[in-house]
């Protein structure tokens, strides 16, 4: 059952050795993208934040991503006049011992010169990250695994999501950390969820964050429910929620964390992805990748993504495993899917069989095997404005 990964100078263990190139404002996006495209290395990946005005959440997210266990080095691409606190970001990353370089377009002679300079800097950082990455045995207890659903249908809650939930139970039992999310898709499930909390405080925190999500989505006018969900047979938010909730499995829910917070222990956590305070910046998560990025910022080295309609996305930094809820979609998009949970409804496999398949695939992916989305070059990334208060002590277990 051995897995081989990379030991970082801060003691964390990654399963990929990625160099991220991060644009710190949309104005630097083109230059950063050209640097990544011309480098043409699947482990040199583009991330970034488009806004010009500073945002604490975006800074925390970029700090968490720049020090992620799968990340071996970082190149920051700044225009020069944007509000992003690039020095704070670089200092935070450097403090973990990872190589980090900042290039500023306004100080490098413009677009062409900065792309050229950026390519040289990437090679330097890549070489440093390669030298630094110590091959190391990875145990289940070194892994943080996240789960998300996207393009859910009427089968998701019967096949793919409960299979992912059973895989989650096995990961937790083996000593891993697991994170499930989208409190807007727990609307209607807050009661059953609270029963799984270890303390009354955590139970209250679980209920509160779902109520907050409901208030937030009500102001937005819609729930976390896309037209494709309805076309796939789901009719209401709470129906979708009941299916989505099955991904969490049956382990105790130890606490509620916010984006870019690391779970304080092994075990299962809920990630609260809905902003705090009055709605300010629009929809909580404008697409699935916004949530995937937040799971990764909480330390997830692998993501389980269940889908019914057929999502094709992957992510920068961490591999995404696609679990399809039904055979017609699986066959229609077989080049994008990793696991066919539709076999459950056809009587060809049990939930436990598919859960076992997911666990074994995660082991191989943690050992270096590429997922379908990874092999296809999917490296989606999105980060937008949000505001959060960090989780209070009542949201976390008493350790």
């Amino acid at each position: 059952m051995s897995m081989l990964g990379f030991l970082r100078p801060d003691g964390r263990k990654g399963i990929r050795n990625v160099v991220i190139v991060a644009y710190l404002v949309e104005c630097a996006h083109h230059v950063a993208r050209r640097i990544v495209d011309l480098t043409d290395d699947p482990d040199v990946q583009l991330v970034g934040f488009p806004g010009c005005y500073p945002n604490d959440y975006a800074l925390r997210m970029m700090q968490a991503l720049g020090t992620h266990p799968n990340v071996g080095g970082v190149v920051l691409v700044s225009l020069g006049c944007e509000g992003f606190k690039r020095e704070a970001l670089a200092a935070h990353i450097a403090a973990t011992g990872r190589p980090v370089e900042t290039i500023v377009i306004q100080q490098n002679g413009g677009t062409r010169s900065t792309i050229k300079r950026g390519r040289e800097v990437v090679e330097t950082v890549k070489a440093a990250a390669k030298r630094q990455a110590q091959p190391t045995a990875v145990e289940w207890s070194d892994l943080t695994i996240g789960t998300i659903c996207g393009g859910s249908d009427g089968m998701s809650g019967i096949t793919a999501n409960p299979a992912a939930g059973r895989a989650f139970d096995r990961f937790v039992e083996a000593g891993a950390t697991c994170i499930f999310e989208e409190t807007g898709e727990m609307i209607g499930c807050e009661g059953p969820m609270a029963v799984r909390a270890p303390t009354p405080e955590v139970a209250t925190a679980l209920i509160e964050c779902v109520h907050k999500a409901e208030r937030y989505y009500r102001v937005m006018g819609f729930g976390s429910f896309a037209p494709g969900n309805a076309e796939g047979g789901l009719t209401t938010q709470e129906e979708k929620s009941a299916g989505a909730y099955a991904k969490s499995g049956t382990s105790p829910i130890l606490g509620v964390i916010k984006p870019a917070e690391l779970p304080p222990s092994k075990g299962l956590y809920l990630l609260d992805v809905v902003p705090d305070g009055e709605p300010r910046f629009g929809f909580p998560n404008i697409s699935d990748n916004a949530e995937i990025v937040e799971l990764i910022a909480c330390g997830c080295q692998v993501i389980l993504f269940t889908t019914g309609r057929g999502s094709v996305v992957g992510s920068a930094i961490s591999p995404v495993v696609k679990i399809c809820s039904n055979s017609p979609t699986y066959h229609a998009l077989s080049e994008d899917m990793d696991v066919n949970a539709g076999r459950i409804i056809e009587g060809e496999a049990s939930l436990d069989d598919v859960a076992g398949e997911i666990v074994e695939l995660v082991r191989r992916v943690a050992d270096g095997e590429a997922t379908q989305s990874e092999a296809l070059g999917h490296r989606e990334f999105i980060l937008t404005y949000k505001s959060f208060e960090m989780a209070g002590p009542g949201c976390l277990p008493r350790l």
């Binding site: 609307i187 409901e214 006018g221 819609f222 729930g223 429910f225 009587g347």
Partner: protein
């Protein structure tokens, strides 16, 4: 193995979920009964297990997932046209076209 037409997910449920596309007039058997399908219904969609009345809670997984807004006959398709959320509206592509 052949795929069953519909599945009853919980003994309390008043809807069944289609495990494959079903045809109008088909006798759809499930553990605990059989229902005559009243319309062609796609994979993953729901049909009524019993007759439902406006205001009835729709139960799936043994839990309410919304309430009926119309009288619904056993075997009829149950979806946006005859039930609604107890919490928050769903949006569809049809709605967004009407509004734009």
């Amino acid at each position: 193995m052949t795929t069953p037409a519909v599945i009853l997910l919980h003994p309390d449920d008043n809807v069944l979920v289609c495990c494959r596309p079903v045809k109008q007039g088909e006798q759809a058997a499930f553990v605990g009964g059989v229902v005559e399908v009243r319309a062609d219904v796609a994979l993953g969609h729901k049909i009524a297990r019993v007759a439902l009345h406006p205001g009835d809670q729709i139960l799936r997984y043994g839990m309410p997932i919304g309430s009926a807004t119309q009288p619904i006959a056993a075997g009829e398709w149950v979806h946006l046209h005859n039930m609604k959320s107890n919490y928050i509206d769903a949006h569809t592509r049809a709605q967004s076209t009407e509004h734009s």
